[in-house]
């Protein structure tokens, strides 16, 4: 899996570099909302990489507050289609890892026992359609993007139930989270 991903990355970059024109550093910084069946939550993202002609690829991260706060780290690829001077639609897609950002309390002692939760990162991906309007003389642009976001992670909890004398009974449980949301982002790119 890792090898395939690396191969796709290398191929994309090499195609871009071998093509005509000069790749340049490009950055996209957006804020937005996520709307799903269980929550509406904000998100912040920054994707930095290289852009060439109608292609853009980069590494993205940010904060996703949907249901359980997490930090996605992903590789993003975009393909733009010029529809008018200084305006283009673009398709974007990204995939990577989702790192839950909980206030892990380690041992929780609540008088009724001790729970030790452990968050385990999972997979995340997104796909979307954007609209880009170039402003000013440079490459500055306003970005608007509608998309789909899917993040996953796991939580393993070991609960030690109260007893007068140890060893007290333990219970192990796990939660597998799979969150899907509509994503609307607005931002600035260059």
């Amino acid at each position: 899996m890792k090898k395939s991903l690396l191969l796709v990355c290398l191929l994309t970059v090499s195609v871009m570099i071998s093509a005509q024109g000069k790749p340049r550093f490009s950055s996209q910084n957006t804020a937005g909302i996520l709307v799903g069946s269980s929550d509406n939550a904000p998100q912040l993202q920054t994707i930095n990489g290289i852009s060439w002609q109608n292609w853009f690829t980069g590494i993205g991260t940010g904060i996703d507050w949907y249901y359980q706060r997490s930090i996605p780290l992903f590789w993003e690829v975009e393909r733009g289609f010029l529809i008018a001077p200084r305006r283009k639609f673009y398709f974007s897609s990204g995939a990577g890892a989702n790192f839950p950002w909980g206030d892990s309390p380690g041992y929780i002692s609540n008088g009724w026992g001790t729970a030790a939760p452990k968050m385990i990162p999972g997979f995340c991906w997104n796909a979307g359609l954007g609209y880009k309007v170039t402003v000013g003389k440079q490459n500055d642009a306003v970005l608007l993007q509608l998309g789909f976001s899917n993040k996953m992670h796991r939580e393993e909890v070991t609960t030690v139930y109260p007893c007068f004398n140890p060893p007290c009974p333990e219970n192990k449980a796990s939660y597998k989270y799979n969150f899907r949301a509509l994503s609307l982002k607005l931002g600035w790119g260059f």
Binding site: Y67, G102, G111, P162, F164, P167, A173
Partner: protein, 416 residues
Amino acid sequence: MKKYLTLLLFFTAFLFQSCLKDKILYTYTMAIPVYKSKTEVYANIRSNEPQPVQSPGKLFIRGNYIFLNEVDKGVHVIDNSNPANPVLKAFITIPGNLDIAVKGNTLYADLYTDLVVVDITNPLAARFEKYIPMVFPSRNYGGSFIADSSRVIVDWIRKDTTVDYSAYLSWEKRDVMLYATAGTGGMQNNANGGSPSGIAGSMARFSAVDNYLYCLNSSQLRTYSLSNPLDPQQASAVNMPWNIETLYPFRDKLFIGSSSGMFIYNISNPAVPVLEGQFQHARSCDPVIADGNYAYVTLRDGSACFGTSNQLDVLDITSMSSPFLLHSYTMTNPHGLSKSGDLLFICDGRDGLKMYDAGNPGSIVLKKHITGLETYDAIAWNNNLIVVAKDGLYQYDFSNPSSLTLRSKISVNRNK
């Protein structure tokens, strides 16, 4: 332009389908009881083939033998003639067992709510003598589980079960984590004490002293006459505050730890214990031992006692009728404790084992701290410290008071 609009249409249609539904899968372990008839269970209370230690509980030393409770399963008989090489010799199968006490050639053990009497004249050929029903009524199962009382639960079959937890998403939104909130079923009790017949740990809930057996229920102290050790007869029952936990005999007194304080009962008349003194403390579990003019009480949180304190209290018991606090020492999660001469050993839960110089009880000094093990209870005797930990039974040599040298370890083996 038309091409792009068509694409946009398809894309939007995709987004608004049911693919926006969140999903949580919850995997938990379901336990199903395995029953046996009482006749079968009593017939099997004898020395069987040795079993691996899987969940060590309380312990009792008698001569060269260690009797180690296997939680809810029975008692390991360990030949400890050579502490550097203890040998598992037999296993006395007693379902629901948590506590043990020994008087002469008789082993007393709880079997859920009942007290069973086992002849251990030859520990390797132990045999069941009798049972006394409902000595520990609090060992009934609680919560929503109702056991079949005509039979005995001898084991549990555990199965991982996965269910869709998504229905709880709307009201269990949390930025932190979800964790299991199931009840405890029944709370565990436990037992033990010190007697001429052997040595018990500080977490004991019953203990034989001379010709009497003292048993703690959660709110009662019951006394049984052992005129005939194989046929205990109830002599008295004294009501006590709720949540009494541990019992430690010292001289003609019983030191009883409860979640709200320590009680001292006078057993000059052994058939009818009488309250002589008490010391109130913050709500916590509190094993207690006594030595000379001082009692040592550990308070811990994270237990059935609801408390939040984690400390060692040293009490002056020069006057048994009015003990007072001499000094408190901060601990991590202290459980059982033991004392030999000036050395005080404290099982500090997940913070390991601590050895103090308690020559001056008002100012004890940490001499040795062993980490990396989760300790529950200890017995110090004859320069040998026996420690029950989550991962096994340890033995340390403390003949040199400035060090603890590991002699042996019987490791927990949960795979067998």
